[in-house]
Amino acid sequence: LKWKLSFQISAALKEGQVSPTELCQRCLSLIKATKFLNAYITVAEETALKQAEESEERYKRGQILGDLDGVPVAIKDNFSTAGIETTCASNMLKGYIPPYNATVVQKLLDQGAVLLGKTNLDEFAMGSGSTDGIFGPVRNPWSYSRQYREKCVQNTQTENEDSNWLITGGSSGGSAAAVSSFTCFTALGSDTGGSTRNPAALCGVVGLKPTYGLISRHGLIPLVNSMDVPGILTRCVDDAAIVLGVLAGHDPKDSTTVQDPFKPFELPSFIDASKLCIGIPKEYHAPGLSSETLALWSKAADLFENAGARVKEVSLPHTQYSIICYHVLCTAEVASNMARFDGLEYGHRSSMDKSTEVMYAATRREGFNDVVRGRILSGNYFLLKQNYENYFIKAQKVRRLIANDFVNVFNGGIDVLLTPTTLRDTIPYVEFIKEDNRTRSAQDDIFTQAANMAGLPAITVPTAVSERGLPIGLQFIGRAFREQQLLTVAKWFEKQVQFPMIQLQGMMDHGHIVSLHQKSASLS
């Protein structure tokens, strides 16, 4: 199960070393064994096994559909899946069964992929911890890794306690945990402010946010239409390229996908870094950046320099405002997007039926958590006639300045920007919940958000294990629609840093840990 998608698992399937059914069953039993991670909201065991069987038939006939045939995948629970409950981790959509598949889901299934289940998230993807959904927080698999446990024993006294478990980051924390704990080979997330890259970095996997307009959003339950993109989580950069090749391209059902033809690409195995020009944005030396991440970042710049690349300091002067700008644009779009949840056509409906208005208000109070309601209200405030110009239009203007900064840098000859993905490695849940959701999102999306403002592709690559035994990722941001160049640079970097594999053997099935978790899992 630790195999990578590219070459290894598809070769194994093709050569008959493992059958799709066998592979699916192994993943399903690992999902059961790691249930305490709370990575999955719904496990579609029956349909997954059926899909695996069909795949097996295709292998027998020698008529496979593509590289993903028989490969187990997981999908964040804000993508519509026909016949499989899609909740957005909200009471509002509990029990909702979409009548159709999101385009990206359909594309995976058309390739023969086996859909294992739906992964956990913050309610409606609003958050950066995967802690704010109705199904409870997701636990970072690295909490149970040999790497982290050994450091814990050295540093603290709390080894026997269960309070040390770490958050995954978010909002696609379930997808990141699923890929990181080997229960699937790739997972889809979504990325509006960093929701794919943030948990990918904190869980030690690759997270790709493609260019806005490259991948269809049809069937992705929207958060911020002008910034949402489906994200791809994998264990290596090559895998991300394969999945991107399957998903990218125009969709008649999403008018914001561009019509330029997309040609799937393979990444070269030999990469010459000497012709590259890497930009280091000086504004990313932000307060709160851990010294360890900072050191790693400059070491990474040295790697490129030593390989003959040009490394240049660049300036993105307005990036520091992207979080504030995002706060206004996000809440405004949320206020409008969430208007669809009125209890009439689908989702939760309050039993209060004195009038339509009363039913609406009660439904929305019962269905949304504090975070979602808070964003709806702020958004409505920024959109009030007397505030529209001052906040909403103002933010749209700042957005242009942020996007123009990138244009200037890339026009100045920079190929790819290198930045940290997060301020530091992950933290325990008990630490994380000391601050509210808005504060956390503002801190955690600081390096990732600007790429969404400008619609640019960005990828986080696991780089090193910290002194505490936890993963740290670095981010590359590329030019719009230049995924091939971005991923090539990322692959070169991945090869240089040789990020160690998470060591979970004997840790997860450690008697007392599992029993402890079963207790807490049944409570939530």
Partner: protein
């Protein structure tokens, strides 16, 4: 970042009332109001940016043509599929409670909004 201390705006009862009606979400707790005030304060930092002469940006795809498909029917006959996710239907209709009754005024509100708790 430049931190200009801005005068803190207090939200009037009228604005709060208006917002609740627009958002169809009630939040009239001290905590809810405070959260909104903090959110506004946070957004106020935007005013430190000089945006004179800058056009607002709606979409990063603004320089491209918006794709319009042919105006042909490509899907349909899915009434049953769509209706089966609604809690209340009659024949082919979604059912709403009586309309055109505005939300009660503030002072009457607690009585009905708290009932379902």
């Amino acid at each position: 970042m430049e931190q200009k201390p801005l005068p803190q705006k207090t939200l009037t009862v009228e604005v709060l009332d208006h917002l609740e009606r627009l958002a169809l979400v009630d939040f009239r707790t001290l905590e809810g109001v405070q959260r909104l005030e903090k959110a506004i304060q946070f957004a106020d930092q935007l005013h430190a940016v000089n945006t004179q002469g800058v056009e607002p940006m709606d979409s990063v795809l603004e320089d491209r043509c918006l794709y319009l498909r042919e105006d042909n029917i490509t899907e349909g006959n899915c009434t049953e599929d769509l209706l089966c996710n609604a809690r209340e239907t009659v024949e082919e209709y979604f059912i709403a409670p009586p309309g055109n009754i505005p939300l009660p005024k503030l002072n009457e509100r607690d009585t009905f909004l708290q009932v379902s708790e």
